[in-house]
Symmetry: C2
């Protein structure tokens, strides 16, 4: 049957080179390309670019994402053909792209460790945490976006870049580097982007659609949230609060609060930026950002949360003023200890 | 004497190739590098990169800007050595960089057309409006930033990129492309940036210092200004207002309002975004941004202002509500005519 069929290439290890991965892709007549739930510009750009390439080589290709695409990703060329299927679809080769763990794919892959490796499968990813769960794995965590790896594969497969391919691949770069602003941007990222723009990718349009545009509801939400700005400790701590009332008045959802904690973090000399998001009465979900002077996980950890040194989160059940005072106390303690 | 001395290279025209400009630079033992008033990341990055290169070639170099540098530009390597001199300083070769018109340099150059061409001078620029005012001119308006041209000159001069050079040049790119988000970004911009990052330029740090960081006063100003958000015409028109009272309460200056009109422009389906900045009682300076559905100069022109189709400005003397109603009326008229 399909998923375990096809002719595997002569490879010595389950860790493939790009050339070996290209040979594996060439060897299959039918392929199904999976990407992770909660799709983003990188995951969608990867599957659409690779699918278009494989179709140009005469192969039968299906694209699958566990979740429906948000409307802003329907501008990625070919993305309308992505379907939501919560199970394994038989094919000569099953490919997962930008998926660090098979648990992000479908219930059976999450429930049975080894399930994915049990089929003829290829895992293409750039996450450091990738568990090499497939029978064949092409994992490169030095790639800023998974589309960097797909770009190289398209090269290996000998296909020229056209406008649609370049656009799909650029979505991945812009998404995962935040338009080259994140420190994961490398010379390779920029050199590849140079070729994508030369092939016609409209970088400024993609940046606008993916990063800059906001809804009117989001603008109204910011107008209601920014007046909650509070500074503490000589403007080294900054708080903002999103209440359910503000969401209702703005006609907004919690995703419209995206960017608010970065607004705080970008204030000069702020060491701890915290966005308090009211989830239930007297219950807040906190998003934290810390400067290099502080470890955000120390503050978030005090409330049972976690994350990274520069970005962490936790939940606190208390009235807002109490929650804010508790966070301030932990910050001051961490500051004294640090 | 210096400014008209030196040995001009054998060039057939006052429009030089890069190679000819490099020969001209090599032919001078002493050089003075000018950039424009109101310096920015591109102008400062250009003079520091070119000065360091020429000094490495054993030349005597002075850097001059008519205005003192704002503190955020003192992070550009070598920028501390830039001086403010309001006149011509004698040298074998006088170089202006990123200067579209000699009127931006010093009073005598502004007052006497031809004054600058009367000295042994080289004009290196990327502005479309450049008037080719020098004896020798290297003008390339396809360059997103003037540092793109300086990058090529450094190549011609045979100098390797080091960390400081790469950092200076990257300041220009980030400044003039708004971190690759503007439509002037080309394959050449990205390919050059790839080399700069490979040479050590800290892109994410430069983006933060140049574009992202804001003062606490600016954050307070946004918290006071965003609640003035007004929509009209089914959310196709959006207004924000900066009052003198808000500036005083925030402890902010008008430059802290930077980014507010872009915040408005980035709202989905907004065709006209206007920031009303109170300059005197009942007097407003308007910054406008228009979508592709509208010509901002039509609206601004109705009040004696001007600019470009996508970005324009004007002044209106009237109480705020009246000023806003007038703008709305002009917008509705332009919409009907368009």
């Amino acid at each position: 049957m399909g998923a375990s069929g096809g002719t595997p290439p002569d490879v010595g290890s389950s860790h493939l080179t790009r050339a070996e991965a290209a040979t594996l892709l060439r060897s299959a007549d039918s392929l199904v390309l999976y990407t992770h739930r909660n799709p983003d510009g990188d995951s969608v750009g990867c599957v659409t670019a690779l699918a278009a390439t494989l179709e140009a080589l005469g192969k039968q290709v299906r694209m699958i994402c566990p979740d429906p695409l948000p409307s802003y990703l329907l501008a990625v060329p070919g993305s309308m053909a992505i379907t939501t299927v919560p199970e394994l679809v038989p094919a000569d080769l099953v490919v997962s792209i930008d998926v660090s763990d098979p648990g992000l794919l479908f219930p059976l892959a999450a429930a049975e460790p080894g399930y994915f490796a049990g089929v003829h499968s290829l895992n293409i990813d750039h996450h450091f945490s990738n568990t090499r769960y497939a029978r064949y794995n092409l994992v490169d965590h030095t790639a800023a976006a998974a589309t960097e790896i797909v770009f190289d594969l398209i090269r290996e497969l000998g296909l020229p870049l056209d406008l649609d391919l370049a656009t799909s691949l650029m979505y991945g770069i812009v998404n995962d580097t935040h338009s080259f602003q994140n420190s994961n941007t490398t010379p390779r990222t920029l050199a590849m982007s140079s070729e994508l723009v030369a092939a016609g990718a409209n970088l400024s349009r993609i940046v606008f659609d993916l990063l800059l545009v906001r809804s009117a509801a989001s603008a109204r939400l910011w107008a209601l949230v920014l007046p909650t700005l509070l500074f503490h400790d000589h403007e080294r701590v900054a708080f903002l609060t999103v209440t359910q009332e503000a969401l209702t008045r703005a006609g907004a959802g919690m995703t419209d609060a995206d960017g608010l904690v970065e607004f705080l973090r970008n204030i000069r000399n702020v060491d701890l930026a915290v966005l308090f998001k009211e989830t239930d009465p007297d219950t807040y979900r906190l998003s934290m950002r810390a400067s290099e002077a502080l470890d955000a996980t120390v503050v978030a950890g005090a409330f049972g949360g976690g994350g990274h040194q520069r970005a962490a989160g936790c939940d606190i059940s208390a009235p807002l003023a109490v929650a804010q005072a508790k966070v301030l106390a932990e910050y001051l303690g961490a500051r004294q200890a640090g």
